[in-house]
Symmetry: C2
Subunit: 125 residues, 2 copies
């Protein structure tokens, strides 16, 4: 995952009963599955074991009403996996919730940062 | 730390250069120092070693313009630690930023949760 080069970060976790249905790691994993077409490759890109990546996918598929990731059915992507249209929809919604939370507190965090000796690197640019 | 019994959580981290100046763990530690008057006791309450608790305090003291925690000067609290008025101020501001981010996305998270098979326990009450 990219090094966080922002002044502040906001991590949102959405729970379903006691399970983490969606969070930053699962969202990044979906992005990687879209990019690579494979759960194994997505896991590798995130320095995650195949088992771990698969567990995260299974949790999402169990938590949501409709599967988020499905095995791709033959063709060029044989043996791979695809994020379903439903999965893309919830990923988009999650990303938009992240952005909204981030924007909502921007001015307050700016004020908060005045108490810091130094602001983070990104302020320099 | 208390079990999270909400439907969603928002974790905010404020950075200073490459250091984490304030986040959920540091804020909870400040709460515990206020409560117990001691870094050691605050760490114990959070299942954290004394060294770890002290490191978090030192990071905060280094990141902010003014100390956030100081050793208390004798009297009944001898050997203890106090959160300074400045420390209480930044803790209050951090808590209010947390609440603002949480509220800002509430409706969107409600919509998002409609995609879940089950909503979390707290929805039952």
């Amino acid at each position: 995952m990219a090094k966080n080069d922002e002044d502040y970060s906001v991590k949102i976790r959405v729970l379903s009963r006691d399970e983490l249905a969606m969070g930053p790691g699962k969202a990044d994993l979906l992005d990687q599955i879209i990019k690579t077409g494979s759960i194994a490759a997505a896991g590798r890109a995130m320095n995650m074991s195949y088992k771990r990546a698969w567990d995260l996918v299974e949790t999402m598929n169990n938590c949501f009403k409709t599967p988020v990731v499905e095995k791709s059915k033959g063709g060029a992507a044989k043996g791979g996996a695809v994020v379903t249209p439903f999965g893309k929809e919830i990923l988009d919604q999650y990303r938009s919730i992240q952005k909204k939370a981030h924007s909502a507190i921007k001015n307050d965090v700016d004020d908060f940062q005045k108490f810091l000796k130094h602001q983070s690197n990104s302020k320099k640019y």
